[in-house]
Symmetry: C2
Subunit: 791 residues, 2 copies
């Protein structure tokens, strides 16, 4: 089903496009092979060849074709455009284009647009101390690595949101198209607001093969592929071929048709507020893998097959026939016609290239920090809950936060640079006050029973954590702000995606030309301790463990213990840049411990002694430290402190609450790590510490193993003893309950085992009583729920 071939191009234009494409192909191949003799001014010799041949040729000619043709339409239409290169392992192609258009040399003056620069461009590619083989933060014009496949289209949608002038082209490889996240991302078109958002133009590149297999979509019968794309809500345009001039003509025509259609959709929506969901165009580009490369190598077909995926001629240094084939392949692009004597591209090559920031490698959108404005986060004090005395009242922390987010949504109503994403859980997570300021993005039909749907809404809900994450990453990387609210257990769904984002931020931070982008903020709620409705499958606090394995300059983890601390943490993370912040907070009623002023001070320190909760006095070192992190552990520790005060009044107990987990790390391991003196002042080296932690207990050991107190540290936390049960039974099953903590204290403070044996037994008895009670009544013993200060 090839697309119609029109008369879009003059033959001069066509020659120019082909020259640009050949130049880019030449430069892509050159990067994989050459470390000298970049323009083949002398016959190719083994010494010109890199010792290790690394890189991916197969996808590069297709990416070069897309880039060449995007150049043309951007120049012709003057419309700001970026491209997300899904087959990002085709790094040589994007680097080649960036160098051709001059963006590369402007970003990296040591790699000039001349012969020496071309040699540097070639040599540095996949070379120690050089540049990665993939499109990466180092690549001008990119906001998407593409190493781990699946996220290009979600990134593209995220970039287009609230950028009404922007066109985001997105090349989707047919390998990537098999992944789940990509398959789900097609439905992004049901959320794209043609009024306030830019356009996304997916370009599905069917080059037929993955590493070693044909691709599923390339082998669909034509009608089935057409059904699929229409089923995704697109109007497909097809460009198919292996004759360059035919393909140039068809591609130019398809791009013009697509962009005309985009303009129609946007004009209609912006002019008269069209109410039909738009059928956006998609281009299907079907060209051979490794197109224009060696057809046969060692008697086996390479061009058009999976063998073209990486390095088509693998033994160029050792095998004279391979060397000869490489030279003939490189010369087939006629470099002498493409580059001037000084190595710079000739005029014909550059004819299609737009100028200045319209160049894909120079668009500020792909260096989003250039466009970021400070977020007008309202002061938490405005939403603070009153705290007459610690624990005298309760609030639902996320519900109160919802009010703050509502005002933030309102404050950004005109700027439109803040979004909240989540997998159908915004209301379940009790943030629904947000809807008073912005509804949920929705372009499909609506029924009277629907609530808060809004064609122009900035709350994004789709039942796909992958798509939520991808949207938000794209939105942040183009310089805007956002929050991802998610059930705690299911944050693991995006473990691998956040890995890639953290890597991106880590590398970007070392590039002076990349400006800091707003942080990726997670609000993990509906957490492990309160999965009353769902049980074991929804209980997993390990996302924090995963995050804390990653680059310490990027990752931050906060466990605010109550409402006011959540507000303080939220203000901090929403204003921050360059981080991945994980905030774990409850949505269930939670005791208010700290006033707003106290909360601010406590969160600024990251951890602190709650002297009002303990029984130590200034004359005496504590006998035991009860530490806690997380809302439920904090409640249990304070209840345990209360029990100790009643039953063992002479025991000197210190209560420490930890909000910022990375404070426990050595300073050398994390910028937030406390120094030894500070740390030992809070946790004395020889005092037993009973630490009640929200998640897996060994995480605390992993953070604190270098600390002096470590031999005396005993951690309680979640140990996979999950099920559908009552809230208090959950803490009992995992030995995190107040009674167990008191028993731990008695077991670990020297001398107490004997003198407090009776207290210990009464703690054991009430646990047992509770166990029988809930099995009979189905609910917790009234007297163990909550927390009460002793009379």
């Amino acid at each position: 089903m090839p697309g119609p071939v029109g008369e879009t191009l003059t033959s001069r234009e066509l020659d120019g496009l082909d020259a640009h494409w050949r130049a880019a192909n030449y430069l892509a191949a050159g990067q994989i092979y050459l470390m000298a003799n970049p323009l083949l001014r002398e016959p190719l010799r083994p010494a010109h060849i890199k010792p290790r041949l690394l890189g991916h040729w197969g996808t590069s000619p297709g990416l070069n074709l897309v880039h060449t043709h995007l150049n043309r339409v951007v120049k012709a239409r003057g419309r700001p455009t970026i491209c997300v290169w899904g087959p990002g392992h085709g790094g040589p192609a994007v680097l080649a284009n960036s160098w051709l258009e001059g963006s590369y040399s402007e970003t990296y003056p040591s790699v000039g647009r001349d012969t020496a620069g071309m040699e540097a461009l070639f040599r540095q590619f996949s070379f120690p101390g050089g540049v990665p083989s993939h499109v990466a933060p180092e690549t001008p014009g990119s906001l998407h690595e593409g190493g781990e496949l699946g996220y290009s289209l979600a990134h593209a949608y995220g970039a287009a949101l609230d950028n009404p002038a922007l066109l985001v082209a997105c090349v989707i490889g047919d390998g990537e198209a098999e992944t789940g996240p990509l398959a789900a991302s097609w439905h992004g078109n049901k959320f794209l607001d043609p009024v306030h958002d830019g356009a996304v133009l997916p370009i599905l590149h069917l080059n037929g093969y993955k590493i070693a297999n044909p691709t599923l979509l390339a082998r669909l019968p034509d009608d089935e592929l057409d059904h699929l794309l229409r089923g995704y809500g697109h109007d497909p345009l097809y460009v198919t071929g292996d004759d360059p001039r035919t393909v140039h003509t068809a591609m130019a025509h398809a791009l013009d048709t697509a962009l005309d259609r985009v303009a129609e959709i946007q004009d209609a929506a912006r002019g008269k507020g069209g109410s039909e969901r738009a059928r956006w165009p998609v281009i299907v580009l079907r060209t051979p893998k490794g197109w224009t490369g060696p057809a046969l190598v060692d008697g086996l077909p390479v061009e058009g097959t999976w063998r073209a995926h990486q390095v088509p001629l693998p033994e160029v240094r050792e095998n004279p026939e391979h060397l000869r084939q490489l030279e003939s392949w490189l010369r087939s692009y006629r470099p002498e016609d493409l580059f001037a004597a000084d190595g710079s591209p000739v005029e014909q090559v550059l004819e299609c290239v737009p100028a200045g920031s319209l160049r894909l490698g120079s668009a500020p959108y792909s260096n989003g920090g250039l466009l970021t404005r400070d977020l007008p986060v309202p002061p938490p004090e405005r939403y603070a809950v009153p705290v007459e005395s610690p624990g005298s009242g309760t609030h639902e922390p996320t519900r109160v936060l919802g009010g703050m987010l509502e005002d933030l949504m309102r404050a950004t109503a005109d700027r439109r640079d803040f979004r909240v994403v989540g997998p159908d859980e915004t209301a379940s997570n009790r943030l629904q006050d947000i809807y008073r300021a912005s509804g949920k993005a929705w372009q499909s039909s609506a029924l009277p029973t629907d609530e808060h749907l809004d064609r122009h809404g900035r709350v994004m809900e789709i039942l796909s954590e992958h798509v939520c994450q991808g949207w938000l990453e794209g939105y942040l990387l183009t310089g805007r702000h956002g929050l991802f609210s998610c059930y705690e257990a299911f944050a693991h769904i995006v473990d691998s995606m956040v890995n890639q984002h953290i890597k991106w931020l880590k590398v970007s931070a070392a590039l002076p030309w990349r400006r800091p982008v707003p942080s990726l903020n997670y609000l993990l709620t509906s957490h492990v301790w309160r999965q009353d409705h769902n049980g074991f499958s929804h209980q997993d606090p390990g996302f924090v463990d995963h995050i804390l394995n990653k680059s310490p300059n990027v990752v931050r983890v906060y466990l605010p213990p109550d409402t006011n601390t959540l507000l303080s943490v939220a203000e901090h993370v929403l204003k921050s840049r360059e981080y991945v912040n994980v905030v774990v907070a409850g949505k269930q009623p939670c005791f208010d411990w700290l006033s707003m002023a106290e909360a601010r001070a406590h969160c600024a320190r990251g951890l602190g002694i709650w002297s009002w909760a303990g029984t130590e006095d200034s004359c005496r070192a504590p006998d035991v430290v009860l530490a806690c992190a997380g809302d439920v552990p904090t409640q249990e520790v304070l209840a345990a402190a209360s029990l100790l005060r009643r039953h063992l009044p002479t025991l000197a107990v210190r209560v420490v609450n930890v909000v910022d987990m990375t404070r426990l790390l050595p300073r050398a391991a994390h910028p937030h790590g406390m120094n030894e003196l500070e740390f030992n002042a809070v946790f004395p080296a020889d005092t037993p510490v009973i630490f009640a932690y929200h998640g897996y207990p060994w995480l605390v050991h992993r953070l604190a193993y270098r600390r002096a107190f470590h031999p005396h540290l005993h951690v309680r936390g979640y140990k996979e003893m999950g099920t559908t049960t009552t809230p208090f039974d959950m803490v009992v099953r995992n030995d995190l309950d107040r009674f167990r903590l008191v028993m731990d204290v008695i077991d670990r403070v020297p001398g107490l085992a004997v003198t407090a044996a009776g207290v210990r037994q009464s703690m054991a008895d009430i646990r047992e009583h509770h166990h029988r009670w809930i099995r009979e009544h189905g609910s917790d013993l009234p007297e163990v729920v909550g927390w009460k200060w002793p009379d």
Copy 2:
């Protein structure tokens, strides 16, 4: 586009189906609400109501409808059938059906099919000490929890593979359908062999709403939905309505049509080897959410809306109007017509129910351990590489393993109970010898350039780790065996899926009626140290960390250091049951350290002293222990030991290699944990230990923090210093190289800092020299590559 309504049913049949459906609906609602008075033999009072109302009503009537109608066709056709319930949070529905058909009471005799049993069924649901609110391992007939959405269809395909007689129905909720893994799973039909595999019948249930939002697919225009399903390669059948009798008729007709079509496809393929890819049927069932439940509650619409998702009447104990509505709702099913005086279902209700193991709750396929046969793993000795002396030769471990898997594939050619899955990486991971015994499953068209495609192949390759994982889980849970080979970094893509599988195995192990199923085996290769082509995006060794957070009775982690140890580990994991085994092994040439006999003994112990590599003797305790886990760290430790032997010949060095990481854990924390005596014999309490670990170094601390040696433990590993560079530069960047290890020894053995200062400086010098060399030459210094025993 409703399906045609035929004359499939007699009116007696229709009455029977409706009675069964009403009975199931009654029982589903009863489970959510009642703890007494199960048959409403007296007026409903607050005391009959559970104190905590937990569960999901919204999806239950739809699941009940599907179950009722599956009963009919299973009975009529006598075809073994299971159903994967994607909306598994509709636990009440599946439990209700299982109880009605008698499977539940046979599995749990304490819950009889009578009044007392019904009360027990109701009371235990989502009750402390009772059963989970979701379909779970505790649920007879299930192999899929459904708590974390996205995996139903991949599980269904996995279950159908190599079960030619089996029909796997799969209900896909329209919420779940938005997830990435589900969206990708539709393409499973391109891999299903109509000759050797069973059939999968997807039933897309569009009830219109998620927790709080409309669903995307329910709001597609009819033609777009039809395009989408045809694009996925299916022939859709539509069942739409809210009038029960109309829907019953349409559903019966659709199921008959679908199963006739399945039979046609299979007969054609099995009879004459049809070569066209089949267009399998799919049923689209569009019925209201919370169908037959309260239409309005407190003046707001509930039936047919998102408000029906969980508990439609939330205040039954407190609010007399809610109580009245509940009673009227329950009585609307006419329980007096459905259940006899003793509480058992009347004959009419049971008329559609098949007998014995044809009942969905009694199918052995969903308790796969019943069907498992021991896997004929060939003895590793057959593939062992000769080792004249340690380190004298090299092999690519995974390539040698490929030979063993080839023979295993051959040995199971007739049994067809072993499969290998992977995301297009089987050959990249150097396992391609497998193809000599079985090709790659592929039902689409093939070209002459394709290799190893096979309509009947048992190697499964799709570029989706999610789908690979889902297929394999479904295959294992139905009692067969398999291996997932994956790039190490991208195993994180399935973090959350493997969580759920581990939870399933943990809970199943505690249920005597569930028989052990074969282990889920990962082969992680193309690992962090050898991502020469791809760089930073492909470097992440954290899957092991993730796995080790989970239930210790399920998880196992192995890092074989060479080829023979990989063979030994592979034999062990392939024969094992009930575990999730993670094996990390290299594909690059690796020194052979141990003979097969030594490898077997070493792997059986899990860790051991390599006395031939050290310099301690029996008269003297070691001055330092060099420990290692993983192929690259082992090479570096042995090279360091060699350097120490040359430069510091009087130092007593012990070399310890760890294969099984959980040996480091305390025995109380993992069944493989060593006891203190054993452990301290290997790692003396006061001796410095330099531990070179394959992954994040703090993992070793987290495992070993309780051990006596811990204050003297210093771990080197991957610390996110990744990029595209040479193999040796990677270890240098992360301070894991031999020279750094020697420096670590000098820094940590008391007294050496002064006497060995010269050696230390020469180590630092060669690191610096290497650094300059690779930046100039692009490859490693020849003399630092590999390993050489000192003369």
